[in-house]
């Protein structure tokens, strides 16, 4: 690419050309090729296929693949699963982002000082991050059974047996699974908030204290705004990461009850298993577009907030 002649670009072209020749000798472009080949074959080509096969009748029931236009989208819109699952995925992602950041921030503030107990507690809260999300899902499936340990504890506190179906509510179970997701990842948010708190200089906080600011007002007015970079990172990763969620919901509710926790990836997995490959592809394309459309505004919005402060 850099060896193409640049004659006729005017006097500046000569110097540029010499520099480019030198840089192409010292940092040859072929070093890029293996990585780009892997990216193209295993990432970009499948992504491009999404835009093609979402408009076909590809399935396990017939050997040929034919073009059907917008039939898949019309069918998925018609039975309500496209908009329904997009909405559920978005609700799940927003809830996860809120809970994960709230818990992570509270943990960071509680465990901020460098004491022995706090150091041990920080390591302990990172254990769920290291564990498999599927395993976490199974643990909570057992914990949240109507006859499970959580109801047992609540029953002991209130004095009579309770049997709340935590995973059986068509309106609240989405909140419960988002809480589980947040529980698994809150240790990571905590670590990043702790690092963010460390970057705030003692002098600033001390100055506020001398001016009579209490713990809460110095947090709200000074430390919280200065945490903006950590918030940007945590909110963006939690929001965009949980849109791609699967393991925890599959292990706890499998999309139920009544499809009210059916994330896009749960639908994709189920329809793929039924052999309806084109419908699964259409949903995969929807997920891709939703993340792509949301990623850039979300990151830009959070960055802009940083600049204002």
């Amino acid at each position: 690419m850099s060896s193409t002649p640049t004659i006729g670009r005017g006097p500046a072209g000569l110097g540029d050309r010499r520099r480019m020749l030198r840089s192409s000798r010292e940092h040859p472009a072929w070093f890029l090729i293996p990585a780009l080949a892997v990216l193209v074959v295993f990432f970009f080509v499948p992504t491009a296929f999404n835009f093609i096969y979402a408009f076909t009748d590809w399935s396990s029931f017939k050997s040929s693949i034919g073009f059907v236009g917008f039939d898949n989208i019309v069918a998925l819109l018609g039975n309500g699963s496209l908009l329904g699952d997009l909405r559920i995925t978005l609700v799940y992602a927003v809830l996860v982002a809120i809970f994960q950041n709230l818990f992570g921030l509270i943990l960071a503030l509680v465990l901020e000082r460098d004491t022995r107990i706090n150091r041990i507690a920080r390591v302990a809260f990172f254990v769920p991050v290291v564990m498999s999300a599927l395993a976490v899902g199974y643990i909570f499936q057992a914990l949240l059974k109507p006859t499970g340990a959580l109801n047992g504890i609540i029953g002991a506190v209130v004095g009579h047996p309770v049997s709340i179906a935590w995973l059986g509510s068509t309106s609240w179970t989405i909140v419960v699974v988002a809480l589980i997701h947040a529980w698994k990842w809150m240790g990571l948010s905590m670590l990043i908030y702790l690092a963010g708190l460390k970057t705030i200089s003692e002098d600033v906080v001390e100055a506020a204290r001398l001016d009579g600011a209490g713990w809460w007002s110095s947090f709200r007015l000074i430390r919280f705004p200065l945490l903006a970079p950590a918030i940007t990172f945590n909110v963006a990763t939690a929001l965009l990461g949980s849109m791609n969620g699967f393991d925890i919901v599959q292990a706890t509710t499998q999309g139920g009850p009544g499809g009210t926790t059916e994330l896009l990836n749960i639908f994709i997995f189920r329809t793929f298993g039924q052999g309806l490959f084109a419908q699964a592809t259409t949903m995969s394309l929807s997920l891709f577009l939703m993340v792509a459309i949301l990623a850039f505004p979300v990151i830009r919005f959070l960055r802009k907030r940083e600049d204002v402060l």
């Binding site: 690419m1 840089s23 010292e26 940092h27 040859p28 070093f31 990585a35 780009l36 892997v38 990216l39 074959v41 295993f42 990432f43 080509v45 499948p46 992504t47 296929f49 999404n50 943990l107 509680v110 107990i117 507690a121 390591v123 302990a124 809260f125 990172f126 290291v130 564990m131 498999s132 999300a133 599927l134 395993a135 643990i139 057992a142 914990l143 499970g148 340990a149 047992g152 670590l191 990043i192 204290r209 001398l210 209490g214 713990w215 970079p229 950590a230 945590n234 965009l240 393991d247 990836n265 994709i268 997995f269 793929f272 490959f277 592809t281 995969s284 997920l287 891709f288 792509a292 990623a295």
Partner: protein, 282 residues
């Protein structure tokens, strides 16, 4: 000096309350679930049908672990996990570092565009259904090699992002010195650049190992039913057949499967934590 201000008076009780709050949080949020896992993993089948927090009447944790290892096909699954994880991580780090070196050093508009495209995979979700179709077309469907390629494609962006940022902090003069001695690009990369990438590559290794070791979603599509990995095996045994509702065996399996990463994390926690946080807060 400010002993009369309200905050100073407030701070002393806070210091005695804080450790209690910390311990309560650990016990309530982590103690309860993990206690249930350990006691249930030590119970008999009859006792573990409804998992609770009571101690087993007699511990049979070891017996359950042997059952899982013996009947749960855990060893083949462990080998399967290693078979896809090790080459994926080595491959993605090596190829990603090579590309990052060039992307960090050459500052043309074309390179900036390639870089933007190369890191786009950090946020964009992989096209999981059509990957299967592609693997069929190139004859890699259901093979470990196909799975390795998919993982490399998924995490290449992350590696390029991390490593490119780091290479930019390495002075070019180090390369120049080697070049004066007649070293070509291959030698410069492997002798000068790659050794300096150590800490960054260590962090990236841990993160990617964590993702691949625990991945079940992409594995279900690409190698499900053909090759066993630990999470795939857990999914199969927990959702159907042998272990359905056998919580003692499910939890014994979970403990065994989590141990390798937990031990690695405990041993290297300082390094892992500083590695993860350094990139996030700037």
């Amino acid at each position: 000096m400010s002993s009369s201000s309200p905050t100073a008076r407030l701070r002393r009780p806070l210091r005695t309350v804080q450790p209690i709050v910390a311990i309560l949080l650990v016990v309530g949020l982590l103690g309860v679930p993990f206690w249930m896992v350990v006691v249930t993993a030590g119970k008999s089948l009859r006792q573990s049908l409804t998992p609770d927090l009571t101690l087993p009447t007699h511990w049979q944790l070891w017996q359950n672990i042997v059952t899982v290892l013996d009947q749960g096909r855990m060893l083949p699954a462990l080998l399967g996990s290693l078979l896809v994880m090790v080459p994926s991580v080595v491959g993605v780090l090596l190829l990603g570092s090579m590309a990052s070196w060039i992307l960090a050093r050459r500052r043309s508009r074309a390179m900036a565009a390639v870089y933007a495209l190369a890191i786009s995979g950090i946020v964009l979700p992989p096209a999981v259904v059509t990957i299967v179709l592609l693997l069929r077309q190139i004859g890699l469907a259901g093979t470990p090699l196909g799975m390795i390629g998919v993982y490399m494609g998924m995490y290449m962006s992350t590696v390029i992002f991390f490593v490119t940022g780091f290479v930019r902090t390495i002075p070019v003069e180090l390369e120049e010195a080697a070049r004066v001695d007649g070293a070509g690009p291959v030698k410069v990369f492997f002798r000068i650049i790659l050794p300096l990438l150590g800490p960054t590559l260590a962090t990236a290794t841990i993160l990617i190992c964590l993702y691949i070791w625990n991945d079940v979603f992409y594995a279900l599509f690409v190698v499900g039913g053909r090759l066993d990995t630990l999470p795939l095996n857990l999914y199969q045994v927990a959702s159907s057949g042998l272990y359905l509702q056998n919580w003692n065996l499910i939890f014994a399996y979970i403990i065994l499967m989590s141990l390798p990463l937990l031990i690695t994390f405990m041993v290297m926690q300082r390094r892992i934590i500083s590695g993860i946080t350094s990139g996030a807060v700037k």
